[in-house]
């Protein structure tokens, strides 16, 4: 069987267990083969770990299993690996809250479709409130208004790839430029989130907006940028400007309607005019956050369409 190591990482992980099982069941009696017959041990190991353990055992030949000492060593090694992974998980959870992040990736196809439609055409949507379920917001899968990190993450990666494509059509492409584009966009994103956090602190807005929420909201503009750049690549500069204008207006309205409910007090959010410098400041803050999005969208894409 042909084991081609040039497949991408994801498919490799999917195909390898299948190939190994097929290999071991078909060539169980041959002496010289690529993978040894670890079907008994392989099933038990594969259900638990990744394929690092059985792969190492497979490559070193058939004699390793017949020796009880190395059997013991392999069992000890796999237990060490699982202990190490537990420790890494525990320590990683202190810096990056993995359990909290899982909430933002709990999406499904229907949600993604509806949210993308909302990002491009938010004018008909009536109810922008996030539904709560006993003090915790409902997962994005069940409420289209909840912020998620899937669309921003995918949008960012797609933006980097589309930027590389656009630079390639202008004969300005080199592989390092992909990294430069990615880090530039990432730096602008971080600066925008930090600026919003600082301004939220200064106007003492008591909201339940977390940092990750702000990251999600700032990442929604990548969808509009991608649409603009793709339209510009396909149909030329006028199409780029038109689609960018449409997406800028859409994201402006989207941000205002979403942030209005979270930042302003209840009365002001419903549209009634509430006097007082605090509400005025908050209104200005909402406006400026929403207005910064089109500026960033233009700034990050204009050099791609010449």
């Amino acid at each position: 069987m042909d084991y081609t190591p040039t497949q991408s990482g994801f498919r490799q992980r999917k195909l390898q267990p299948n190939m190994r099982q097929r290999n071991s069941s078909a060539d169980g009696l041959e002496g010289s083969q690529l993978f040894e017959d670890t079907s008994g041990a392989a099933h038990g190991l594969q259900t638990g770990n990744q394929q690092a353990g059985p792969q190492a055992a497979g490559f070193t030949g058939q004699s390793i299993l017949s020796d009880p000492m190395s059997n013991l060593a392999m069992a000890y090694g796999s237990s060490l690996a699982s202990q190490g992974r537990e420790m890494v998980d525990k320590n990683l959870d202190r810096f990056i809250p993995i359990s909290k992040m899982k909430y933002y990736f709990a999406v499904d196809t229907v949600y993604v479709g509806k949210k993308l439609g909302l990002l491009v055409f938010p004018y008909m949507h009536e109810n922008w409130e996030v539904r709560y379920q006993q003090d915790t917001p409902v997962a994005p899968r069940f409420d289209v208004n909840a912020p998620d990190l899937y669309i921003p993450a995918m949008g960012f990666i797609t933006y980097v790839l589309v930027a590389g494509l656009a630079l390639g059509t202008q004969n300005r492409f080199s592989p390092e430029l992909l990294g430069v584009q990615a880090s530039s966009a990432f730096v602008w994103l971080i600066m925008e989130v930090l600026a919003v956090l600082l301004s939220l602190y200064l106007v003492t807005a008591n909201t339940d907006l977390t940092t990750i929420d702000l990251l999600a909201f700032s990442g929604y503009k990548y969808v509009g940028m991608i649409i603009g750049v793709v339209a510009g690549l396909l149909f030329g500069r006028p199409a780029y400007y038109l689609s960018l204008l449409w997406c800028c207006a859409a994201i402006f309205v989207f941000m205002i309607r979403t942030l209005r409910l979270k930042l302003l007090s209840d009365a002001a959010a419903e549209g009634r005019l509430v006097r007082g410098t605090r509400n005025q400041l908050r209104m200005y803050l909402t406006m400026s956050i929403a207005a910064a999005q089109p500026i960033f969208m233009y700034w990050l894409t204009y050099h791609l369409i010449r």
């Binding site: 430069v180 880090s183 530039s184 971080i190 200064l202 106007v203 003492t204």
Partner: protein, 82 residues
Amino acid sequence: MAFTLYSLIQAAILCVNAVAVLHEERFLSKIGWGVDQSVGGFGDEPGVKVQLMNLVRSVRTVMRVPLIAVNAVCIVLLLLFG
């Protein structure tokens, strides 16, 4: 527009340095931003200026010692790698 993460870190270090060199009695009190002038209203509305003064004061208190180490590292890196 070729930003890297390292240039962002450098910009952040420079900003924090700028906040750290604002002296309390020689400068901030003279322009009315000292800590004795920030105990204003006891309502729930501190206001932007009071928040800013509190931010400056807390940055100076917290970052004074770590900035020594961070600046030393940054200087060494700049000398070595330009």
